[in-house]
């Protein structure tokens, strides 16, 4: 079983109820598609740059991270997205493999804009420590369980989150 | 009484001029030398070939404010740079420049020189300590351990020279080496001392590089780790005095090496001994100091101590034993 299949199987294990449904044609990972069920979606890496697009609930983020950690992935980055008109924040995790077979996985979760709380994965990947601090810094998303969630790039006395779409300097 | 008074005054003025010129223009030499090694031109704007650069630098330093930061130990902070200069100038008094030129031919001149050299280390310790700066304190601590480690092999190698010459008077050590390079301590043919003395020379030279805090052993200054080490808080001529003290220490180190190992004022071919040979030797040695500094990266403090305790001290001890044996045998 090659890596891509193995990864898909491992990820599908987290979403038992939607595992069977999550195989629409590749290349449909856009957010304009009708609201998607959470689950694993295989996308065209040549177009979107990753093999799997995993949408999950915020509380499943850590579970996905543990699975990917077991499969030998590393965390590339964490980014926040502010969907102002939907009233939601999105946290996007990018995973990749260090050497060997190549596979990229994008994991994203939507949280309510009013109360943005996502569990931390810094206990799984220490790399997430700084990336989560950065996302907190720019979006004000709280990563529950983070050991040291303070501002990283902005001055410690800043009282704004500049990448929120409603932030006006 | 009358003549000795004039003599003392003459030597005082002469030595001060010698020290001042060296302290100023060695900086120029260093910058030019470094520039040529790095294929640059170096100072070239102030005067012909930038020769007036030291004056310009001096003027600049003097026109700056002598900043004494809050919380420093005021007296020690001010005394330290002076303490860096004075021993270096004082030790020049016992250096025999030629058979007849030399302020004072003391019987114990080698001993005096090493006593004064240790004061140089104390100036770094005091300057670093008084600054109340963490970098400066680390630098002070480093400089003490470095000095301790390197004075031992240095003195051990000097003992070999003293054994051969049978004197601890620099002038007599030099006179003992007259008559061509095969009489110099480093190549001494008599009694087969050339077998060990070149090792002594190398050890002594490494130690004098370390003693003068020059790269690759500039642990106390270490600009990429400790900013400027003990000099971090010094501005204006406080800094200037430390720099001048450093150059004067180099001059003293070179004079000592030339006298102990390279026959002092002796001509290599046994022809025309004189002060000019001494000058040629010390400047060749000083150039080597500069050359080494601009060739190697800096070493690490524990590597430096390892080098001393694990390589230099065993070697110099073995050397001492062999030299003593050679003297006994022949």
């Amino acid at each position: 079983m090659d890596l891509v299949e193995r990864t898909q199987a491992a990820l599908a294990g987290i979403f038992p109820e939607s595992a069977a449904a999550a195989t629409p044609p590749a290349g449909e990972g856009g957010q304009e598609a009708p609201p998607r069920e959470r689950g694993v979606l295989a996308v065209d890496p040549a177009r979107h740059g990753c093999h799997f697009d995993v949408l999950c609930r915020p509380d499943e983020v850590a579970a996905v991270a543990i699975v990917l950690d077991r499969e030998g992935f590393f965390l590339e980055t964490i980014s926040g997205v502010d969907w102002l008109d939907k009233g939601q924040f999105e946290v996007v995790y990018d995973y990749s493999r260090l050497g060997g077979e190549h596979c990229r996985v994008m994991v994203h979760a939507l949280v309510d804009r009013g109360e943005p709380v996502v569990p931390t994965i810094s206990d799984v990947f220490p790399a997430a420590d700084w990336h989560e601090r950065e996302t907190f810094d720019f979006y004000g998303i709280h990563f529950q369980g983070h050991p040291h969630l303070i501002r990283i790039l902005l001055p410690e006395d800043a009282d704004f989150h500049p990448l929120r779409k409603d932030y006006m300097p | 009484m009358e003549t000795s008074m004039w003599r003392a005054l003459l030597y005082l003025v002469g030595l001060l001029i010698f020290a001042g010129v060296n302290a100023a223009w060695l900086g120029w030499c260093e910058r030019k030398g470094a520039a040529r090694i790095q294929r640059r031109i170096g100072p070239c704007e102030a005067g012909f070939a930038g020769l007036l650069q030291p004056l310009a630098d001096g003027l600049k330093l003097m026109s700056k404010q002598l900043l004494v930061p809050q919380g420093v130990d005021g007296i020690i902070f001010r005394v330290a740079p002076v303490l860096a200069m004075i021993p270096a100038i004082t030790s020049m008094a016992v250096i025999p420049f030629s058979e007849n030129i030399g302020a004072r031919a003391m019987e114990l001149s080698v001993l005096l020189l090493f006593a004064l050299a240790s004061i140089g280390m104390i100036s770094i310790l005091l300057g670093g300590w008084a600054s109340g700066n963490k970098y400066a304190i680390i630098s002070a601590a480093r400089s003490v351990s470095q000095s301790l480690a390197y004075e031992i092999p240095m003195l051990l190698t000097v003992i070999t020279v003293v054994l051969i010459s049978g004197s601890i008077n620099l002038r007599e050590i030099a006179i003992d080496q007259q008559g061509g390079f095969w009489h110099w301590n480093i190549f001494r043919l008599k009694n087969g001392h050339f077998l060990t003395m070149w090792i002594s020379f190398i050890i002594f030279f490494i130690c004098s590089v370390a003693e003068t805090n020059r790269a690759p052993f500039d642990m106390a200054e270490a600009e990429s780790e400790l900013v400027a080490g003990f000099m971090t808080e010094y501005s204006s001529m406080g800094f200037g005095l430390f720099m001048m003290g450093e150059y004067l220490n180099i001059v003293v180190g070179a004079c000592l090496t030339a006298t102990l190992f390279l026959g002092g004022w002796d001509c290599p071919f046994g022809l025309t001994p004189g002060v000019w040979w001494f000058v040629v030797k010390i400047y060749a040695l000083i150039f080597t100091f500069i050359w080494i500094r601009w060739t190697y990266p800096r070493t690490q403090i524990y590597r430096l101590l390892n080098l001393s305790w694990k390589i230099l001290i065993p070697f110099s001890m073995a050397n001492l034993l062999v030299t003593a044996a050679l003297i006994k045998v022949f």
Binding site: - | I37, R40, Y296
Partner: protein
Amino acid sequence: MSGYWSDIVTGGKSLVTGLAITAREFFRPVVTEQYPWEVPTMTPLFRGHIELIGSEETGEPNCVVCGMCQRACPSGCISLDGKKNESGKGKALTRYILDFTKCSLCGSCVESCNFNALRFSRDYNLVSFDKDDFIMDLMNRLEEQNRCKR
């Protein structure tokens, strides 16, 4: 113990090699240029700040005030104004201000220009104590260049 001796031997050799290399470099010619006395040749593509191109005959700017450069600029350092031509066709430039303090010399403005109205100047000696000196009126500059040409 063998490491001890080989360290001393190979280490000593490497140190001597290093000294030999710096000694070799010591006697080779310098590679630096003494800037104010020697000026390096400038590449044809050198990007200075932008300037207006005047037409060959009249010396009037080629600019038709389309505003493409203004829109292309990532840092918003170009501001320009124009008025209707007397002939009623097209527009003539009346004001072209470059705020060089914001310019990042990316050249997007020159690239976006379809009317051969902008180019890079070859000034590199830009020094001033006053920030306002770098808010340049390019119309004035063009007039001055025209005067010099005459």
